[in-house]
């Protein structure tokens, strides 16, 4: 593994809306190191999701270059596992067969598949529902399946697109603790997009604030909180101060935002 997991150099992205060129991202430069948990926050229109879609290889930038472990990105691949907000599970496949999808494509035999799938099902707390269909699961469980399915392919970076945005507050906190624990257990690198600043500060080792219309990197901050975080961390003065200052930045960057 190189010293840099993911690198964006001068990445810009234009799109056409009713015949008009619009710039979604404007010369974004970003470097993600191995084992980082980088959270990208920004108001709507800041191009957060566009950024993730570019890294995933689902869309190509108008200009600039994106490299993963030194290799330029030419399309989507299992080295960049992607988790959407909701609704991306294969509804006809059981939990374990959803998780095994990427391994089936690689041609792994059944024994090797189930050894790997079993580990990630245990890690995400899904062992007991392994034979259930997605529609029989709660929203939180469905997101765990999506995370396990991406991780089993051992991606260089795990991409999370507002992964807990559709969950109720309690489930969301459970999932935040779980993804922290998974991040520490597996040693994976995470790039997560969210509009929830509290979530970003709680989960991230680093937080990037995007400005809106066009999206630009407005701030890039290390989060100086201890590795070991619990829900109590969210009430600590250091946390609250960080959260408030980043929320102010997001608000200041929001086009037409009203300052309190």
């Amino acid at each position: 593994m190189g010293r840099v997991t993911l690198e964006l150099v001068d990445v810009s992205m234009d799109y056409r809306l009713r015949g008009k060129e619009k710039r979604a991202l404007d010369s974004v430069n970003l470097t993600v190191s191995p084992r980082e948990f980088l959270c990208v926050v920004g108001a709507s229109g800041s191009g957060k999701s566009t950024l993730l879609s570019l890294v995933a290889g689902l869309t190509m930038p108008t200009s600039g270059q994106i490299t993963i472990e030194g290799h330029p990105i030419t399309g989507p691949g299992p080295d960049r596992g992607l988790v959407f907000q909701a609704g991306s599970l294969y509804p006809w496949r059981t939990v374990e067969r959803n998780v095994a999808f990427g391994l089936e494509l690689l041609g792994l035999d059944a024994a090797e598949r189930s050894r790997r799938v079993d580990w990630y099902l245990a890690e995400t707390g899904l062992a007991e529902v392994r034979r259930s269909l997605p529609r029989q699961l709660s929203g939180g469980q469905q997101q765990r399946v999506a995370i396990a399915r991406a991780l089993v392919c051992e991606p260089a970076v795990l991409l999370l697109d507002e992964p807990f945005g559709a969950l109720d507050v309690q489930t969301k906190e459970d999932m935040q603790l779980l993804i922290r624990q998974i991040w520490r257990d597996t040693g994976t690198t995470v790039l997560m997009v969210t509009h929830d600043v509290e979530e970003a500060v709680f989960l991230g080792t680093r937080v990037v604030v995007l400005a809106s219309e066009p999206g630009r990197v407005a701030a890039d901050l290390r989060i100086p909180l201890a590795e070991d975080r619990s829900l109590a961390t969210k009430r600590s003065p250091a946390f609250l101060e960080l959260r408030a200052s980043i929320e102010d930045m997001v608000r200041a960057q929001h086009r037409g935002g009203v300052t309190a």
Binding site: A56, G77, G81, Y90, W92, F101, G102, R135, A150, C153
Partner: protein, 285 residues
Amino acid sequence: MKAALAERAADVRAAWPPLPRRTRPQRTVLAIRTPLSRRTTTILTVGSLAVPFACWVVLSATGAVPATFLPSPGAVLSVGWEMARSGELAVDAWTTTRRVLEGFGLAVVVSVPLGILMGTFHAGQAAFEPVIGLLRYLPASAFIPLLIIWLGLGEPSKIAILFIGTVFFNTLMTADVVRGVPRALIDVSYTLGAHRGEVLRKVVVPHSLPGIIDAIRVNAAAAWNFVVVAELVNSTAGLGYRIVRAQRFLQTDKIFAVLVVIGVIGVTIDVALRLVRTRVGRWAA
């Protein structure tokens, strides 16, 4: 509310008359999307079959309608029994069923892959949608004379009518189902390392399968309609042919018997396809 408003003299809303009240009507049988009691459901279900049947019995028994126009249920049953015993009915039913299997089967074999192509690739849609969208408005029955000129009076022209009558609709309905596969499901499959063919085989097709079977069920009913129409012209066997022959001899009872058989086979096909749909689409329930 009103009192609280009155206290705030400056509030213009204080001068507004109270909003009229609407009373909520009692819950009735016709409440929108509200489940009925088991009893009401049973009454309606039984009634929907029993009432028309009772009308038939009364009209024929009282002689209000002459037997030549409306034979009694008993007469229909005995003629049907006679036809079944002579073996005539089995030959007719099988001839007709075989035509449906061949004509509609061919339509399915062509329309399902074509529909998947059109629903998956914009190129497929751009190339086929205009011509199919036009062709489906041409009634299959209008093709009968042309098909007889092209293919003769035998089986091929009848199979062709069935094919023409169903293939376009089934293609467009399949394409619609395939277009319903969520974008996220396709994107996520690529990020898991799937290639285009794998996305098609392992994601698009399995997700669309229940909907495709639904389309086939709807069009099977259409095929069953067309086959009888096709047989009204120049056949030597089949349920449609039997109806035309019975008409020549004013055998209304025979026509009724054949209509009953057509109905029964149609319902059987529908039930069978519904069972397949339930099995395949268990995950969607």
